[in-house]
Symmetry: C2
Subunit: 910 residues, 2 copies
């Protein structure tokens, strides 16, 4: 590839004109595409150009070298900026300075590199001093350039990995701190122009000393170095690990934006800020943002200064004393608000914007679709739909399944919270509530969580090095930073509970403790955070869920219900579960596991009888246990069927992992032995007989029902009698009898003989003509999937058991994959754990075969899925594409499944 | 269905003419079809007719009733016999008697029922006495009719199941014995006509008394009863259990043959006999048979009298004093020998014939393709090919895989046998040799074998009730009966070692012991039988195999090699195995399991190092063990490759069941711990870590190679260096590197990176340009089968691991199926254990998909199978049909696989 070749590699933009546009995300990255779009819209953006992501690909394909023609092309593009900004790069009289920023297709906050003030050397510095008459500002700017450039370009981009605390950046910071100390300066602003001039020289010496080469004075060398460093940063450690977490492909690469510098730190008529066109935490249609006077952008984002609200309406109890931009610079605020409106109308979405005011002139530096939490996503989607900015289908696509998940996060039980008193308050940066034990660094967070603990990560402020620990923690609490600080951005992206800027916290990392308003907290103490209010409580407060009363949530679910075709059922094992599932809008039970209904009962009796049945050796013993168990089973089935009010209830016949049902405690065993009239030794020997080498592939499911037909018969009788009784009571009930672990059609035929016989016996007993029901099977064994035509001849419905189908299809024992599947995912042998996300290529193919063959043999075959994939968005989408009739998932995943099913319809339309 | 309807239900036959022919097996059963064929050929058969198997189907479909028109049709058919035989059924002057015999599509010796002498009542009896002037013979005949009829028609066919020893047959036998005692008669022949007349009356009274109804005097009623009884016998207990063992479908049904009676027991010019057109034990082209003068057919078959050889050449050390038919009745023998030649030419196969001589006239009663043992089958096929009676393809179809298996049975090491002295001698009725512990009844045989013992069943003579025990036993030894006795027939059918008619045996069932020539043997004592010579030895003699020197065997294998297209490889785990496989004609090794080569070594060192490798916790520990192991692995691979002389050797990389490699003995563990420098507790904890819930689906195969790439690397280096050294020594070597348990294409790609690197390192080290080899994978995981296109992009060959593919495809853990698969097979849920015979419908379908997808992605993909199905005839045939390149099986199965592969070609041609 040549830079002057067929592919355009450099795209110009300025206010009123641009080569690119917002759709060119893949080529220009997010920042570049939106700068171009804003330019086209006539919005004031500093002129600049974007180097395409294709150049990044070239760079990595060619041993990190640019093409030879590249330097010339950049020089040519610079003249465009020079013309627009009326200054010349490297000019000894009227020099132009530029920023060099990354811009990937998807935002990777804090993960990539930026170099500002490129083009400054002693000559241009002096010219600028003459021009601005502000030597202090210019020396400070030069100091910043050296510090940033040495770190990003001369150290990191070269792959130098200094020891902790020995990096050039830290060493330069030490110089700054030394000078401040010597000069008795409290903050940077106390330093004079001469101090800063002195620091510049000290910096240059230190760079030469530490890195073994001089800081480059040639502006062009600076620029080319900075561009290369941005490309290099794409494969930096942090960026790579972030991409892994976020699932961003390595091959996307980054674009580089070279843009005229504008300064928010030139004095009181300069400022910088970050804003959202609507409130990203609540979704309210209120302009929401933060700003700092006489500051550069990084000051807002880094959290090193707590910023002011952008407008009066944004003030709260923490910020009511701070001056808003609306008050400080009314005309500029008005201009900004107009741009906000223009942008929202144009983009038809809530946006996140960055701006700088230089000497009273407003410049827009960035705009992009704004991250929002679940609550806000739902409200924004609904309101924009009401405003007719977007369509119903678009509204559905505006909320991600993760955001719905977030809404389902627990909150503190309001009745309890009202009695509790927060000992610290901060900004409500991440939704929901969480409890955990305090840790003070990211590594501890990771380690503690590995040990099975729940933690809350407490930091002064966070930075990208903390990401892993933040991920592991239940919640994050920081003492500094605003709603756009690193911690807030990251937590919001994940929908994780987070409180930032809780300034009363006095953290002592050394003693691993903090104080706040007289309360002392040390490592390991429990805290509870309310991330929606910003409150911090001692101890563990009780949690609850609260989507039921949320009108927006319900309205949004209604939208999904209108659009989706896939039915959503739930997996429920008790009448109580069934009731809960109805509250969540379940359209039936897709999996009722008989063997689970015995757990968590007040009475131990049914579980005890079940155990007796399992350790029975003779048919007589077993039949006795079966008879004893019958009334319990029938009662539970009746209650469950009643709770579902005529919605289908798929009852899976017994599929117990035999050995798990043997009690371990000697007294329990003794009791069991006594009730069977055998010795403890005999019982132990029977328990040993039940041991299997690979129980997953052992004597289970229908295999039990065939070898012990009396067990099947009891369950079938319970189902039919329960239904018959409900019908006689004038109630509705619709059982679907599901036979598990079927491998061969003859297994199902065998069980159907029993079902048919018991059905007719029940009809006779109750004097009924008909008991509505279906008989079907799970498809969870590969052989069943590939012989689905034969099986469909016996089955009225299929339900994919994708957990087992994945186990057998992959040959992965779910209990044992810990030794290799995480390694596989880390090393990209697998894109993702197939038990989390349904594997379309292999397991999906088997499902397709089963559907095709099954529907060929029985065109009206009802097909669903009851594996855990039924509540996972990608898998739900795939189920829709496969033409399934329903998915079944755990009650709390129902809203997510509904959204995913609706989105699948929208995507299909595209 | 009406018997006079569209389907012909009754087929007539007589000498010179017949409705049916030999091809109508399905309709007429074996006996009926061949009687018709012989009739057509002009061979003297008593006239008769066959009632089609369709009538049997009708009978069972209509509550065991015949159609109304049936009686008339039978009456009409009888006139055909009457005309031919010049006698009339039920006629008071010149009565015709008939036999009523079953005749299924496939012979079920002794399992079905026969009623002889039908048509005899007091009136016809008296007429016959007048006609024959032989009252003693006629009364005896009547006595036999009553005894047989009461048993078969009046008791068994009615479903009456009397207690042991209370059946009508036994009760009538008691009467006979009583009379003999009273009359001082030693044998039946000592009884006078009056005695027998008296017995007839006593019989009739007993029948009335026991069965509650009179013996029917009406000939027609007798006939219809007998026909119905034969149909009823099809579903008798014994017949059903025999069909299950032999795999005969229930729906085939039986035909019924009604045929004029001829008598071999009319005096010294009458006789009966059974013969084979060639020797069924050796295959020699010598007329071979046995006969008894003045006897009925059942006397020969039942073994109640030891018969004479049919000709001089058939005499042996046991029978040299007995008169042959050739000597006793030269003209009849000559006629019989001519018929023998005619039949063999006509049928182009060795036949089993039955004949009766009545008053000097020869009648043929049956002919069918003769059962033969493996040795005979091979010789007959080869000789008939030489005689140009059959083609090469026919010759190949004349030997079953089971017969080849039989040839591979062990014999007694000749060097040892020469020193041993048999303490009993009998007839060599079943091939090969066997050792076992003596039991005296079938039930004990079954029970002892269940306890893991090897038994030899010793009986006076066997009967159909003994079949299960005969099946279970290693060998059968009887004191009575000839080469066509029940024991001999059954044992020959199964290729089981058997000695019959060892008349020196004095068996005492009561004390569970026997004596022979002064030697006392009691239950549980060990015997060794030479079934090819008829010798019985005390104790256990050492065994060996001896196909190598068998010229017929080798010639027959050559025939198979000429015809088959499928290559036959072997599974071998050591250089020694490899050598043995070459002797068997292996065309490569299809599976060399690295982890198996450490067993059975003189030195324990490699196994110990392997264990060390497995319990290693850190990469450093593991690498050290791997390095230590390398020379052993390389050495074994080199020897194996050398032994195979350039034939491909498929080396599977390590797939150890981890936990199995942990020693159990504390001192072994201690040693292991010491060599790793860890404590015994630490070692135990590591061993615990290796425990898996479902090890079959755990951390194994390629999963190990990916998480511990150093293990893969060591093996690959061993393979390449071993090959390189052989090449430098001027030898041939061709390794095929096979990666096991691949689920995803990326796994294979990962391992190929290692293989590629080590390959180039080895080329460099040895200064070679090329080391011939292939890299491929096992297809043993369902997901791999269905994504075979992707996997074929990485693999140069596939080898189906059908053991695991069956495990995962069925979800059947091979170690755990004992609890339900036998039940499944018994109850016809599965036709057969899928680990024995490849399941075509499910697993076969997955294989087809893999082949289709694999060859689409890589047209020259080499495909084989290395599961145990590779040596099972049905599965080999299926592999041929699928278009596989080769099957791989255990060395001793190679000849079977070769034959099956050749037969697959022949069947395909048809």
């Amino acid at each position: 590839m040549k830079s002057g070749g067929t592919k355009k590699l450099i795209y110009l933009f300025k206010q009123g004109k641009a080569d690119g546009n917002a759709k060119m995300l893949n080529t220009l990255g997010g920042k570049g595409a939106h700068l171009a779009e804003m330019g086209r819209m006539g919005i004031p953006v500093p002129a600049g150009f974007t180097i395409s992501t294709d150049m990044c690909a070239y760079y990595y394909a060619n041993k990190r070298q640019m093409p030879k023609t590249f330097k010339n092309d950049v020089r040519k593009a610079l003249t465009h900026i020079e013309k627009a900004m009326k200054a010349t790069f490297g000019d000894p009289e009227n020099p132009l300075l530029v920023s060099v920023r990354s811009g990937a297709r998807k935002s990777m906050p804090g993960m990539m590199e930026t170099v500002l003030n490129v083009g400054l050397n002693n000559t241009t510095r002096d010219a600028l001093i003459r021009k601005t008459n502000n030597p202090r500002f210019v020396y400070d700017t030069q100091r910043r350039l050296i510090q940033m450039y040495a770190d990003v370009v001369m150290e990191k981009a070269q792959g130098i990995e200094p020891e902790e605390g020995k990096g050039i950046r830290v060493q330069l910071e030490h110089i700054l701190a030394d000078v401040k100390k010597r000069r008795g300066a409290h903050s940077d602003t106390d330093l004079t122009a001469d101090d800063l001039k002195n620091i510049v020289e000290l910096y240059k010496n230190k760079v030469q000393e530490v890195l073994g080469k001089p800081f480059p004075e040639d502006p062009e060398e600076q620029l080319m170095g900075a561009i290369g460093a941005v490309f290099a940063a794409w494969n930096g450690k942090r960026a790579v690990s972030y991409r892994r977490i976020e699932g961003i492909p390595d091959e996307w690469g980054t674009a580089v934006n070279v843009q005229a510098m504008v300064y928010g730190n030139k004095g009181d008529t300069s400022a910088t800020g970050v804003a959202f066109t609507r409130n990203p935490a609540t979704g309210e249609k209120i302009f929401y943002g933060e700003w700092l006077s006489n500051a550069q952008g990084e000051d807002v984002v880094s959290g090193s200064r707590t910023p002011n609200p952008i407008n009066v309406s944004g003030k709260n109890e923490h910020s009511h004393h701070l001056k808003s931009l609306e008050e400080a610079m009314p005309p500029v605020y008005k201009q900004l608000d107009a741009i906000r409106t223009k942008l929202e109308k144009h983009y038809r979405d809530m946006l996140d914007i960055e701006f700088t005011i230089e000497d009273g002139k407003l410049w827009m530096l960035q705009c992009r679709v704004g991250k929002r939490n679940g609550v806000a996503a739902v409200k924004i989607a609904l309101e924009m739909l009401k405003e007719k900015l977007i369509t119903k289908h678009e509204a559905i696509m505006r909320v991600t399944p993760d955001q719905i998940d977030e809404l389902l996060h627990p909150i503190i039980d309001p009745n309890e919270e009202i009695k509790a008193k927060p000992f610290a308050k901060g900004l409500p940066a991440g939704p929901g509530a969480a409890s955990g034990m305090v840790v003070f660094n990211a590594q501890d967070a990771v380690n503690w969580v590995k040990q099975g603990k729940k933690v809350i990560l407490v930091r002064e402020e966070t930075n990208p090095e903390d990401v892993e620990g933040m991920r592991a923690a239940e919640a994050i609490l920081t003492a500094r930073g605003g709603m756009t600080s690193h911690a807030a951005l990251v937590a919001r992206g994940w929908g994780k509970c987070c409180v930032v800027g809780a300034s009363s916290l006095e953290i002592d990392y050394h003693s691993r403790s903090f104080h706040s308003n007289g309360t002392a907290v040390k490592e390991g103490d429990w805290l509870t955070l309310n991330g929606s209010k910003g409150y911090v409580y001692e101890g563990q407060l009780p949690m609850m869920r609260s989507t039921k009363e949320n009108a927006d949530f319900n309205a949004f679910m209604k939208l999904c219900d209108d659009v989706r075709r896939l039915k959503i059922r739930t997996n429920a094992d008790t009448p109580e579960d069934a009731g809960r599932a109805m509250d969540f809008g379940a359209e039936g039970i897709g999996l009722f596991r008989t063997e689970h209904m015995f757990y968590g009962k007040n009475s131990e009796t049914p579980l005890f009888i079940l155990r007796k049945m399992i350790v029975s050796k003779t048919q007589t013993e077993r039949q006795a246990a079966v008879n004893e168990l019958f009334p319990y089973v029938k009662n539970d089935m009746k209650q469950t069927l009643a709770a579902m009010k005529g919605y289908p209830v798929t009852i899976r016949t017994l599929d117990p992992p035999l050995h798990e049902f043997i009690p371990n405690r000697p007294e329990e065993r003794q009791r069991l032995a006594e009730s069977l009239g055998i010795s403890a030794e005999q019982l132990n020997s029977r328990a040993d007989d039940l041991h299997e080498n690979n129980p997953m592939m052992g004597h289970r499911g229908v295999r039990l029902g065939i070898t012990y037909p009396e067990i099947t018969e009891m369950q079938i009788r319970a189902i039919f009698e329960a239904t018959a009784e409900l019908l006689q009571e004038g109630k509705k009930a619709f059982p679907e009898i599901m036979i598990p672990v079927v491998t061969v059609d003859t297994e199902l035929a065998h069980q159907k003989t029993i079902i048919g016989r018991v059905y007719h016996e029940t009809l006779k007993k109750f004097g009924l003509k008909k008991i509505p029901h279906l008989v079907g099977t799970m498809i969870e064994v590969p052989r069943a999937a590939v012989t689905a035509d034969k099986i469909a001849a016996e089955a009225e419905f299929f339900s994919f058991g994708t957990n087992d189908l994945t186990q057998l299809g992959f040959g992965f024992s779910r209990d044992d994959i810990g030794t290799f599947v995480p390694h596989y995912v880390d090393h990209k042998i697998l894109p993702v754990d197939p038990f989390q996300v349904l594997d379309r290529e292999g397991i999906g193919w088997l499902m397709q075969v089963a559907i095709l063959k099954g529907r060929k043999a029985r065109p009206d075959l009802k097909i669903g899925i009851c594996g855990e994939h039924g509540g996972e968005p990608h898998s739900v989408e795939f189920c829709h594409q496969l033409g399934l009739n329903y998915v079944s998932c755990s009650p709390f995943r129902i809203p997510i499944a509904k959204l995913s099913a609706a989105q699948a319809v929208v995507k299909e339309k595209k």
